[in-house]
Amino acid sequence: MKLVNIWLLLLVVLLCGKKHLGDRLEKKSFEKAPCPGCSHLTLKVEFSSTVVEYEYIVAFNGYFTAKARNSFISSALKSSEVDNWRILPRNNPSSDYPSDFEVIQIKEKQKAGLLTLEDHPNIKRVTPQRKVFRSLKFAESDALVPCNETRWSQKWQSSRPLRRASLSLGSGFWHATGRHSSRRLLRAIPRQVAQTLQADVLWQMGYTGANVRVAVFDTGLSEKHPHFKNVKERTNWTNERTLDDGLGHGTFVAGVIASMRECQGFAPDAELHIFRVFTNNQVSYTSWFLDAFNYAILKKIDVLNLSIGGPDFMDHPFVDKVWELTANNVIMVSAIGNDGPLYGTLNNPADQMDVIGVGGIDFEDNIARFSSRGMTTWELPGGYGRVKPDVVTYGAGVRGSGVKGGCRALSGTSVASPVVAGAVTLLVSTVQKRELVNPASMKQALIASARRLPGVNMFEQGHGKLDLLRAYQILSSYKPQASVIVAIDEDDVSVLSSLSPSYIDLTECPYMWPYCSQPIYYGGMPTIVNVTILNGMGVTGRIVDKPDWQPYLPQNGDNIEVAFSYSSVLWPWSGYLAISISVTKKAASWEGIAQGHVMITVASPAEMESKNGAEQMSTVKLPVKVKIIPTPPRSKRVLWDQYHNLRYPPGYFPRDNLRMKNDPLDWNGDHIHTNFRDMYQHLRSMGYFVEVLGSPFTCFDATQYGTLLMVDSEEEYFPEEIAKLRRDVDNGLSLVIFSDWYNTSVMRKVKFYDENTRQWWMPDTGGANIPALNELLSVWNMGFSDGLYEGEFTLANHDMYYASGCSIAKFPEDGIVITQTFKDQGLEVLKQETSVVENVPILGLYQIPAEGGGRIVLYGDSNCLDDSHRQKDCFWLLDALLQYTSYGVTPPSLSHSGNRQRPPSGMGSAAPERMEGIMPGRYNQEVGQTIPVFAFLGAMVVLAFFVVQINKAKSRPKRRKPRVKRPQLVQQVHPPKTPSV
């Protein structure tokens, strides 16, 4: 409960709250700030500002010494012959350090001076200096702020302290996510999001969203709300007999899109269709959505905003229906989710190719912490995820309509989504030839015009920040003709079809993270880039012939091989093109950059042609650039077993950490680029090369790798895999296995009743699939137990936390085994009794005695490697274990530990029984498909709001959205689909 409370503080500006949240992502960066007495009060920072005459802030594109800054400014001003200027001294402790800005005073020829300043290559921008008047006050909840007041209440946390703390990180090159350059100067905060995005320019041209039908799927809207002039229809699809919004979410969202007064929306004249699909109790069901979506299709809705989503992309009826909707020309805009900063947290339907998925930024252009990110996980384990969100826009402290009028500020991707939906609505109304507007062409225009944020990778920002006016320009020159390519602007974006991402430069950091974080080499697993094809020509299309790889020979393009897999039909409006890149044998010891491009031609039925069978064609070029290095030695290469991990749970797979009751499902993909991202970055910084195995053990060449890393495996093993792995280990491959709990009594205890499916759910495994692992390990006389332990301890002077882990039941005599004293969590769960167990074996190290044999390491808990809900990381331990497995160096801190004990013989303890027969390959059987053919037994469907803070009565704001009906340790019936408040 304590943790939950802390989450409540997300938007609170309290520094200690921030630090606590911060350490989930930036684990190592700073000392733990004590967080005593964090209350649930909201600290409001209010301020007003005035421009200071003659003074300007010059922002540089990097950090420079005072001397360098001075020379940049003087050289710039010299060319415009401004003499009367000076740098205003700043006397503070940071003066001695490089800075990215300078305050100057210019008393003459200001305009010319400013222009030349901005032209200087090292100067990013020049803004007037402002004097800020700030007052702090605590408030219990957000008070309604009158719209016409100049004061602004900032409800999101500034990320500056965090950013600054991360500067002290001594991390690897890929970690240079450009935090320096992404620092922004605080500036006066814009009061209206529509004006900030310059919607007023389009309003003045007479475009206000007229004749565009926009649907808001939300909590409803009251009948005579003063902000709206064109509410065409309100419908209710819930079991509550009302059309009104009792919560404020729907009103706010509708206001951002179409409010005409106070806090103005983007498209006040748009025809609003209000669909009430969420109750005041924040309940919703897939079936309500299905019926409501059908109505939206019938009503020929042009733009649909869905500030709601859920993790379950395997909810086939829902996913199919969204496809159907966009196939009927409904432009769907949806929130990417509020589960950041953890990776692997994209929500459906925003993660779909045909939907515009929107992430959030604050007014300083930082990605909002809450904004979900990381690749899509549909494609795992065999493939690689797509880039999402598509665009980002303001989602923190945005003002919109209150339930009964007035304005309020809210944060969340729930807020960012209607910003884009409103902008899209406005854009649609600017297009003369409406037939040119479709979900693909609109998305093309948005992503081609988006402004990339510096220092942020594509899995956080997508194509960048929404730029309404540039999108307008692109759309206004969008002239599709019935043939080949039409370039729309200097950016050379093809109108008819385009790709996302539009180029592949695996050397570009940080934008192309994680690709840029590890060069490729001969013998490595192919690097897969999953490109989305947008086809503006028609709802259906196909790739003509095959994608064609054209290496640039002078640029060593022949040093790579490129293979493709792609959608056979591009429908609706989109498809994927997965590009696998590997290094040719002749470049096995070569180092350098290889380049080339891929050409693809897309064809769609030409619906405007009277001749039948005619097709429109469009050809797109995708430049490719990769860095190749000589193959690293075997000892440096670590293979991550993805194949035996699960992406979205097909059944009920409880969390690895049983204390995390609010988030009981493992749904982040368990990939090194999602929730094991910190571990990956750590291994890279230690010089290891980490590759991903997305296929069975029988499919890799073990002589290439020093260590196979298996963390939290849930999948079964084929007999052929077991036999192959045994041979591999005999021949020198080492294993590091981080296991987790598995106890059938506890599993029975954590079963729960689900309202949606109206059935009892029994876990398919515990945290890990120990019976399967034990089968794999049995030949070495090793095995895990069905014990369930929890506790804090110290190992080799490191503080550690064992969160719902198991113990080692059996280990060879001549191995090294470390034990600890823990609480028996199994007993606690089953009988609510506390008992302490001494000498629990948790870590085992073993050298295969045969000549050239590998080494095996077992550890009973994986929580310390997993970014989700990790309390204390154990990357140091992983380092030590890899030293052992890769180089045979036994860490003295372990071999001479006081906790070393005789290895357990396994006598007297029964091996964990299997719940029931689980066939190998059962969970991941649709390898390589985008969406499974087989309907899974429904995992939980949950659609939730993405608003970080919303006030209903006196309820306290909650940070974590219960994404799912949550099973608890004590069986209990729970409300379905509870959106967080």
Partner: protein, 168 residues
Amino acid sequence: EERAVRDRNLLQIQDHDQPIPWKVQFNLGNSSRPSNQCRNSIQGKHLITDELGYVCERKDLLANGCCDVSVPSTKQYCCDGCLANGCCGAYEYCVSCCLQPSKQLLLERFLSRAAMAFQNLFLAVEDHFELCLAKCRTSSQSVQHENTYRDPIAKYCYGESPPELFPA
């Protein structure tokens, strides 16, 4: 929570006290159509159905929105893949089959018993073609446990009953 479930089920129930004033016109043929334009089912991946009940491949769709009837594969009132319960494997065949003049009785009977959840939708439907487009879509009736289809194969239904629970 039990109440919520019961309420949800209530949506599936029809209210006999308030007969719904349907406005669906079953006037078929060219009479109501402007010139030679056709509305069609828009969404299809491979197939498309026009308002005259013709199903064709997308490439055989004419600029006026009608299927090219001179192509041999174009079929009218086609019920391929439709089961006896009125559920079909493909949306386009469901619409085409539903447009058969003989289905009018069935559709009228369905409308007279339509559940509350469908009032909004079917009150807005103007004619036989719109009714078939709307009726054939998957809906709250198509799912069990919210997130799985009752029948993942034949899920598009013009008939009165929901898809058979699969496996039956």
